[in-house]
């Protein structure tokens, strides 16, 4: 018997911890879900793995009994001995920031600049709201200390660091009882000597103290953003380190002998050591998995533009994937204090997958605004009390209530029938709280809730797609999450998108991302220089330093394979405020000419913004390297075989029709008869026309009458909207 090899994806969310186990040989998948254990999250991990182990064992025993007559029975210990990798994503870090449960942190800055963290960028994000709140800095003022040193913008030293002063400052913070120290000095991205000296002093004065210096967290220009990022890193570093080492021990104690990897916000995976060193890079580790799955599908099915859409209970997260690649942006915000408003959170400047998150989910509440119009979201009833139909005390109708009343959801088959939905209560709530006050009939109110949340999502999506230079009329929308497949059809129509893709197990489908994520690490350094005056030898040495650091980072994580490097440079017109990223194919920058850089910049700029200005001079601002290891490929399981849900071979699509029900059609403006399909019975190459509803345990796919559906050999649904003659490229 050949040795099997498994990988396990494990995503610790606020409510649930999700597990997906992959047999690398066959592509077979097992899924499990258990409640997160906030006291010690590794409890849930152990419990969930134990349950999976039993699930796999039962199945193996069944196979052994049935097919091999028990000859090998004694050798089958489940998957743990053959488990090669555990890939882990967690919301622990982001929650620690939002709930302010991080370490007591001190900050050391250049003399005169301890208030950078508090002053921020000074913009009022809500100009007419004089009571808008701002997030309090993670380090209070009394723990922000200064050293009398100074470096110029070109890296030369104005005033050297006085080591004795440095020691006194560090001792002062230690005496205050800090658990972690952040160091961020002005212009240190050009010359890190003083930050490094302070790091050495901290190691000497307080060897066990956690330290984060800005040059190592991310050496980029703009002092507020860099300070905020370094401070955030310092704030979560002790708890992340403790948590990850505990998780590692726990996994070892139950017999795991493979490697543990952590998902990065930028879409790669990295070693435990690196994640513990720069935890600020794993803040968005959870939601990133769906994007990585999207990237994989984009490549696997050769889709030039794909819009990955993941809609859950409180928010919708989405991302444009072009040529199988999601954009990575250099900054984002965490912990927005006011209704998802841009500018109301803490600035973090690390590479992160360009996810757009808005307050639109199944739990988004519908209300009558003061203006007497309908308002849906961003406030959410969450999971508890949740929508009115959950019967847990929710009073305000939510999007899920509308989806139920529109006939999209089956009140008796929600979560596979585990939860009964109260239709009458939902109807009463919409009638009393929306329809009556607005003076519209019930159907208009119910459809309005569904349609308005789609409009909100479409508006955000259009802006996001336009920013990336994409075209909403060409994208394939890929739906994930519990509510994603319910709303994807309406969203796609609003975008003018021709096609919709719904992967199997869309509720957990995002976890596939864990298996397709590259083992990669992104590095960046700022060094502003005019293109005309740039010393390409010097720039090459910056790239080589970054590559060396990338190699060390990956090797420290146990990598033995060949490491490849992808370089890029952020450039802009002289004086322009924003930079444009230019990928560089060359592995030696001295072989590149300024004209090469210029023409590539012009081409990219023109694609993004319509036109370029060849007469305006360019400057280079930041240099980036992605160090990565070869990707492990993933084979999708064919539905002709046995699938994760236990449907047998040779699915007979004729059995797939469960019945029909009345559901609302936006095109007809009325309820029409929809055919209801059981997704687990739909076989390969089966095709049918809308209006249809396709049900699986965690979600429901809605298809209108202008669309047609095809099931491919992997069980993916390809839904062509409005143009039935178009076939997909897969």
């Amino acid at each position: 018997m050949s040795k099997r090899s498994f990988r396990l994806g494990c995503d610790i969310g606020g409510t649930f911890t999700d597990f997906v186990l992959l047999d690398d040989e066959t592509g077979e998948l097992w899924v499990n879900k258990c409640l997160t254990t906030p006291g010690d999250p590794s409890d849930a991990v152990e419990q969930g793995i134990g349950e999976l182990e039993r699930q796999v064992k039962r199945q193996m025993d069944g196979q052994v009994d049935g097919q091999l007559g028990g000859q090998l029975g004694g050798q089958l210990d489940g998957f743990l001995p053959d488990l090669e990798e555990v890939i882990h994503g967690t919301t622990l870090v982001i929650n620690a920031i939002i709930e302010r449960k991080g370490a007591k942190t001190g900050l050391i800055t250049t003399k005169g600049f301890r208030d950078v963290l508090e002053l921020g960028r000074e913009i009022r994000y809500a100009p007419y709201d004089i009571f808008a709140e701002f997030p309090a800095p993670l380090v209070p003022r009394e723990l922000r200390r200064e050293v009398d040193e100074r470096v110029r913008s070109d890296g030369s030293v104005v005033r050297p660091l006085d080591l004795e002063e440095g020691r006194a400052v560090v001792r002062g913070l230690v005496d205050e009882g800090v658990d972690s120290i952040a160091v961020c000095l002005l212009n240190s991205f050009e010359n890190p000597d003083h930050e490094r000296a302070l790091k050495a002093i901290i190691a000497e004065v307080a060897p066990t103290l956690s330290v984060s210096i800005s040059y190592e967290v991310l050496p980029q220009i703009r002092e507020y953003e860099r300070t905020s990022t370094t401070v955030t890193n310092a704030y979560v570093k002790p708890l992340t380190g403790r948590y990850l080492s505990k998780l590692e021990q726990r996994l070892q104690s139950i017999g795991f002998g493979g490697k543990l990897f952590i998902m990065l916000s930028s879409g790669g995976i990295t070693s435990v050591q690196t994640a513990a060193e720069v935890p600020v890079r794993i803040i968005e580790s959870g939601p990133t998995a769906a994007v990585i799955a999207g990237q994989y599908y984009g490549k696997r099915f050769n889709l030039p533009e794909m819009f990955c859409f993941d809609m859950g209970g409180t928010t919708a997260k989405s991302c444009l994937i072009q040529g199988g690649e999601a954009g990575v942006v250099p900054t984002f915000e965490v912990g927005r204090v006011q209704r998802f408003m841009k500018g109301s959170g803490l600035a973090i400047q690390v590479p992160v997958v360009d996810l757009m998150e808005i307050g639109a989910g199944g739990g988004s509440l519908a209300k009558v605004s003061r203006l007497g119009t309908l308002q849906v979201g961003p406030e959410s009833g969450g999971a508890d009390p949740g929508p009115v139909c959950y019967g847990r005390g929710g009073l305000h109708p939510a999007v899920t209530d509308a989806d139920l009343l529109l006939g999209y959801l089956d009140g008796d088959y929600f979560l596979g029938g585990e939860m009964k939905l109260d239709r009458a209560a939902a109807q009463r709530a919409v009638q009393e709280r929306i329809a009556d006050p607005l003076g519209v009939d019930l159907v208009a109110a119910v459809w309005g809730i569904h349609d308005l949340i789609n409009e909100t999502m479409a508006a955000a999506a259009k802006t996001h797609i336009a920013e990336k230079g994409g075209n909403p009329r060409l994208v394939t929308v890929a739906a994930f999450g519990g509510a994603g497949p319910v709303h994807a059809y309406g969203l796609a129509r609003k975008l003018g998108a021709p096609r919709l893709l719904v992967p199997p197990n869309a509720g957990v489908g995002s976890a596939m991302g864990f298996f397709t994520a590259p083992r990669a690490f992104d590095l960046v350094r700022s060094h502003k220089v005019a293109l005309g005056a740039a010393d390409f030898e010097r720039l090459e040495s910056i790239y080589r330093d970054l590559e060396d650091e990338g190699r060390r980072t990956l090797e420290r994580g146990g990598a033995t394979e060949e490491i490849s490097f992808a370089r890029s440079v952020d450039a802009r017109f002289v004086g322009q405020g924003a930079e444009t990223n230019i990928p560089l194919a060359e592995s030696d920058f001295t072989t590149v000419t300024p004209q090469d850089v210029r023409s590539r910049f012009d081409a990219i700029y023109e694609r993004l913004y319509g036109r370029t200005y060849p007469d305006a001079a360019l400057e280079l601002v930041s240099f980036r390297v992605r160090a990565s290891l070869p990707e492990k490929l993933l084979e999708l399981e064919r539905i002709g075989g046995r699938d994760a849900r236990g449907a047998g071979p040779g699915r007979n699509s004729a059995d797939a029709v469960k019945g029909e029900r009345q559901a609302y059609s936006g095109i007809a403006g009325d309820y029409v008869t929809h055919t209801v399909y059981d997704r687990y019975r739909l076989g390969s190459d089966h095709t049918f026309e809308g209006p249809a509803i396709i049900e699986e345990r965690e979600s429901t796919v809605v298809v209108g009458e202008d669309a047609s559906v095809r099931v491919d050999e992997f069980g993916f649904l390809w839904i062509d909207i409005g143009r039935p003659e178009v076939n997909h490229a897969g």
């Binding site: 005169g112 000074e122 913009i123 709201d129 003022r141 913008s153 104005v158 519209v440 308005l452 004086g575």
Partner: protein, 583 residues
């Protein structure tokens, strides 16, 4: 079908269309952030995108808009559209598809020449349906960069209301004229192109919306949105008792000139509110003059923030808010008054309205803020290798306290914008920033404390990095003599200060700096709210721990005695001190 007009929208469809209008303008806004050259636009967000219906009534506006532009622009664009209509023949629109207009007329728009407006009509199926416009604060507009200019001719290039594109064909002469009259031609022309791009995004999306919803025009939708918005504003205003509420402000002028007096009578009558500035000082012989639109913008800011801050801005918000300002006064100046420093007076309109209404709406207003007026610095010169450099910086000060909270730390208020990072400034210019920090005992004491003031120190290097002599610095700011006042017994915040090499300088002229010079600029602190003797001693203790208030300040201003070592509140000593009668 032609001629078919939808006049009524149900509340559900209305909201969907409204959201779409807002997303269109935010998309245009985003295009600016990505394509603009000047850091004043990209980093400081000093621009506003909007669009109107066919008659020039504002429908939607970018959500990050700065109030001085957004409030003035709604009026301004309406005026420009009216001008087109006046000049049009019977049955004509006064413009054709592909036209793009440009102007920086301070009286037509946002009150100074640097604010350049680019406006484009939007045609759908051959019919005029809307106008889209954006105002950018350009980094330079030529002229003498100083607040002591004597007339608008000194302020810089004046672009009348002309066509930049005529039926789709660019008028090269206009661009060329601008290029040769500004110090930073690449930046200014690049930013004008960014304005054209923003309007283009807006136009395309408006047409798409009309097509998607099979609408002939925006008229019916505009009526509905504007009337609902107006109703909401009126509901809020009508809750205030009818009456006349008065306030008065004294604003300092440059050295040697008398003070300016602004007198406000705020009349609330039913659901209308009229701010009457009769009795206000005459226009002045320097750049502090404010055009009507800009005065209106900050009166509007005050009313909007008090009555209905959340509702998206459109023509309906402004309908119940009226301004009466004597022609020829400093708040409604006549051409050709110098206007470059109009924010030094104009920004005060908001706190004047707050102060008038404080007694009837004590929990909807703030004490005066150190960021009123905003501080703007324009540094320019030539570096050691004769290369020109130029940088515009804007900053705020401590916010005024409110009835339930301390003033925020440091913001531009009532205007809005972002600072330029020190690392960006230092890489763009030869200047070194020595300090950017909050100052203790500068927030106005009160039951709720004003936000602290903030110091910035610039040094002109005198080593091998020294620029050529005569680095020029133009400043707009204020509060050197009269500090931001408190409310309801709250004390004033600290005054602003301007020091050149440690000696008081003249913040109103053009300052010429030499290598080695050090400039210190302290922004004022915000005013306090309520009696400082009533401030919770533990809040005072926290302020001392954080360094916002000194030990002496705690005792002097708040009557709170702290143990110097532990900072514990000495309850007995505090009670005794607070029991003493104050003078």
């Amino acid at each position: 079908m032609p001629g078919k007009k939808r006049t009524a929208f149900d509340p559900v469809t209305l909201e969907i269309l409204w959201q779409r209008l807002l997303s269109i303008v935010n998309e245009a806004d985003g295009a600016v952030a990505r394509t603009a050259f000047s850091s004043l636009l990209r980093d400081a967000h000093d621009y506003t995108c909007m669009f109107t219906d066919r008659r020039g009534r504002e429908l939607a506006q970018g959500s990050f808009a700065t109030p001085g532009q957004s409030g003035a622009m709604a009026l301004g664009v309406k005026g420009l559209v009216a001008k087109l209509e006046e000049n049009a023949g019977p049955g004509e629109d006064g413009c054709v598809d592909g036209d793009v207009f440009i102007t920086n007329d301070p009286w037509a728009l946002a009150g100074h020449l640097n604010d350049v407006c680019v406006m484009s009509p939007i045609f759908h199926r051959g019919r005029l349906v809307a106008f889209t416009a954006c105002v950018f604060h350009h980094s330079d507009i030529g002229g003498r960069v100083s607040s002591d200019n004597q007339d608008v001719y000194e302020d810089g290039l004046y672009i009348p209301f002309v066509k930049l594109f005529d039926g789709g064909v660019q008028n090269e002469a206009v661009m060329e004229l601008i290029r040769w009259n500004v110090r930073t031609p690449e930046e200014v022309t690049g930013d004008i192109r960014s304005q054209i791009a923003a309007n283009h995004v807006c136009s395309e999306q408006v047409c798409q919306l009309l097509q998607d919803y099979e609408l002939e025009d925006l008229d019916g939708l505009a009526d509905e949105i504007i009337s609902r918005t107006e109703r909401s504003m009126r509901d809020a205003i009508s809750k205030v008792d009818d009456g006349v509420y008065r306030s008065e402000a004294i604003i300092e002028q440059p050295e040697g000139k008398g003070d300016i007096v602004i007198r406000a009578a705020v009349r609330v009558h039913g659901s209308d509110i009229t701010v009457d500035l009769a009795g206000t000082s005459d226009q002045v012989d320097w750049g502090g003059n404010v055009v009507f639109n800009f005065t209106y913008a900050y009166v509007f800011m005050a009313c909007k923030s008090i009555f209905d801050p959340d509702i998206p801005n459109n023509d309906g918000c402004a309908a119940p808010i009226h301004l009466e300002a004597p022609v020829g006064s400093v708040v409604n100046c006549r051409f050709p008054a110098a206007v470059a420093a109009r924010m030094q007076i104009g920004h005060f309109m908001t706190e004047i309205v707050y102060r008038a209404l404080a007694d009837v709406l004590p929990h909807r207003v703030l004490a005066s803020s150190g960021g009123t007026p905003a501080t703007m610095n324009v540094f320019y010169g030539r570096d050691s290798s004769d290369g020109p450099w130029h940088s515009v910086l804007i900053r705020g000060g401590g916010m005024g306290a409110a009835g339930d909270r301390d003033g925020e730390t440091s913001y531009i208020f009532p205007a809005n914008g972002a600072n330029t990072p020190v690392e960006i400034l230092e890489s763009d210019t030869p200047l070194i920033v020595e300090t950017r920090e909050l100052l203790p005992d500068t927030g106005g004491p009160g039951r709720f404390r004003g936000g602290p003031g903030r110091r910035v120190v610039f040094r002109v290097p005198d080593d091998e990095y020294a620029p050529q002599p005569n680095v020029k610095l133009g400043i707009q700011s204020g509060r050197y003599r009269y500090p931001p006042e408190g409310l309801f017994g709250g004390h004033s915040g600290a005054r602003a200060r301007f020091l050149v090499n440690g000696e008081p300088g003249n913040p109103y002229g053009l300052t010429r700096l030499q290598p080695g010079d050090v400039i210190t600029m302290d922004a004022a602190g915000g005013g306090g709210y309520g009696d400082p003797q009533e401030r919770d001693p533990d809040s005072v203790r926290r302020d001392v721990a954080q360094g916002y208030v000194t030990l002496e300040g705690a005792r002097r201003d708040y009557g709170v005695v702290l143990e110097p070592d532990t900072l514990a509140v000495d309850e007995a000593a505090t009670a005794a001190l607070r029991a003493q009668p104050s003078d």
